[in-house]
Amino acid sequence: MNKLRTLRSRLLLWVSAPLLTLWIISTLVDHEVAKGFVNLNYDRALLDTALDLGRNVRESNAQLYLDLPQPVIEMLISGEQGRFFYRANGPRGEYISGDPDLPDPPPGSSTDRVVYYDSTYRGRPVRAVAVRVPVRPGSGKGALLIQVAERANIRGESARQIMFRMMIPQGILVLLATLAVWFGVGIGLRALTSVRREIASRSHVDLSPIDEKGVPSELQPLIAAMNDLLSRLSAALAAQQRFIADAAHQLRTPVAAIKTQTELAARQVRDDEARAALQHLHTAADHAARLVSQLLTMARAEPGSHRSVLREPVELSELARQTTREWVPRALTRSVDLGFDDQSVAATVSADPFQIRELLNNLIDNAICYTPAGGHVTVRVVIDDRAAMLEVEDNGRGIPENEREKVFERFYRIPGGSPEGCGLGLAIVREIAQGHGATPVISAGAGGHGTRVTVSFPLLR
């Protein structure tokens, strides 16, 4: 049944099944037609034989007898294997010559004319003709009754042979038609390949309509329906993202209010315990703020956002340097030494510069967050033959090998890790990287300590 899922087997079934049926019906019809022809011709030959016999009846001393030439006799009298049987009767029904027990024509049939009939002779089916021939035309001496019978199986054999000869070329035609469908479908479906390629080469964030140009008109309704779905999907996703973005924006003001008020309170309070509590409150508000920013970034990086497929040549090294520079003040507040590797090389990739900046923001933010005071975080860009690799390395406590895949999941926390978790940081990194045909990979940092996240982008040539 599974095979019927392909268009080719369906078409093949729907073309070959009726053709086969037609072939069988046509063969049966052919057989009937052939039988008719064979009967007509054999009956005529039978009649000729009977008339020939009638012409050879002689009269001698008022006695009728059959004067047959030797070859005719040999033809007629061939015993058990003989094809023909005959009997000649006189005008009064007296026996003249031939097989006396040859069956009579069916009763009631008029004998003034030629009568064909089927019967059985010596236990086998025969076809016979009975004809009345005048003893001598115009003599008024009445008519002879000549009967000639022939084995019926000869006719069946002939009809079958004719049928077979017609059946074979027709069968070949059916086979050729089937083959034509098989290959024709393959050739016809090549038009789908270009559409398939276009869809396959798309990034998952690209929900723009599929190009209908060059597509056969039969496929156009399908493409149109697909494009309609894409546009509805895109609208739905955009609406969802607008909601997330609006919600995130709305959250920012109250979070700002909490932060401002707690900081203010911490300044005014003299009690150390109360100050510590306020400090915790402030830290929590910071996490909330970070999460809100990440939600916004996520909403922008996901499919359906209006700027999700911007691609332009981006010099990765310069962008990384600028972005790292912006994070230095933040790193200093946590006593983390954030730096940029001087050995980084220029590498141009095709990307959305805003998203790559966000990707790096999240990598650096994450590294700073997981590196204890006094630790180092280094950003670098290295290249090989095919790829430009953006790396962020820290000498923090590292991520165990079995956790390295999971940390890219949203809100995943390493067991026993910091209570604030990664939030959406690495999920955003993965989302943006995938949108650019890149995959982030986590390994250990230099000397097996800490964490190194590498994102490889295909080099632009």
Partner: protein
């Protein structure tokens, strides 16, 4: 010093007012764009902290009206949006600085101080960094009033660092600044100037950090 805070969220506004009053500013508050527009028309301010997302008359419109009337009062825009387009729009309309919510209070206070200083000096005659003062016109630096012995190039480096306090300054930026005075300066020379400058500033508790692969950063004074 008189400041106007335009912010519709009452608790945030209250926090800002108290923080800035605590820093000895006179603070007025407007909760709507119309109110802000009216107050700006009747009172002179040294700086305005302006939220973009206001009901009816938004922050952009308040700023547009201010600048149309020829007001040069420095404006710090606050926004819940961090999209680059929004930032550019604010700066194009004549905002002097920009902060995304939620911000750290010290950061906001530092930006407000910088804004007021810029507004007062009208091009900046002197830069202040804790006990350190740089007179850019007279080309001399003092610590608690006592003159600091700095070469012209060291002064040049210090000026760039002070103008970007708390932010990274690359060697290229420093070289460019010195080159502007008609001298070609290599990266090695910059390292030497920074090294000397750092030693001379140490006594005043002013720290110039080296940021790996990126350049230098003048740390914010601890008590600010």
């Amino acid at each position: 010093m008189r400041l106007l805070i335009v912010e519709d969220h009452p608790i945030l506004a209250d926090g800002l007012i108290n923080a800035l009053k605590g820093a000895d500013y006179a603070v007025d508050h407007a909760a709507t764009g119309e109110e802000a527009d009216h107050m700006l028309a009747t009172q002179n301010y040294d700086a305005v902290i302006l939220d973009i997302g206001l009901p009816k008359l938004d922050g952009y419109e308040v700023l547009r009206r201010m600048r149309r009337k020829g007001s040069k009062t420095p404006v710090l825009m606050l926004t819940a949006r961090d999209a680059l387009e929004d930032r550019v729009k604010g700066l194009d309309l004549g905002a002097d600085d920009y902060l995304t919510k939620p911000y750290d209070l010290p950061e906001l206070e530092a930006r407000v101080r910088a804004l007021i200083r810029r507004g007062q000096s009208g091009g900046g005659a002197s830069l202040v960094h804790g006990d350190l003062t740089l007179d850019t016109a007279g080309r001399r630096a003092t610590i608690k009033g006592a003159p600091l012995d700095l070469s012209a190039r060291e002064l040049g480096v210090l000026e760039v660092l002070m103008l970007r306090t708390g932010r990274v300054v690359s060697k290229e930026q420093l070289a460019e600044q010195l080159y502007g005075w008609g001298e070609e300066v290599g990266a090695n020379a910059i390292e030497v100037y920074v090294h000397r400058l750092r030693k001379k500033l140490e006594a005043a508790g002013v720290t110039v950090r080296t940021i790996r692969g990126l350049g230098y950063l003048l740390e914010r004074p601890a008590h600010e």
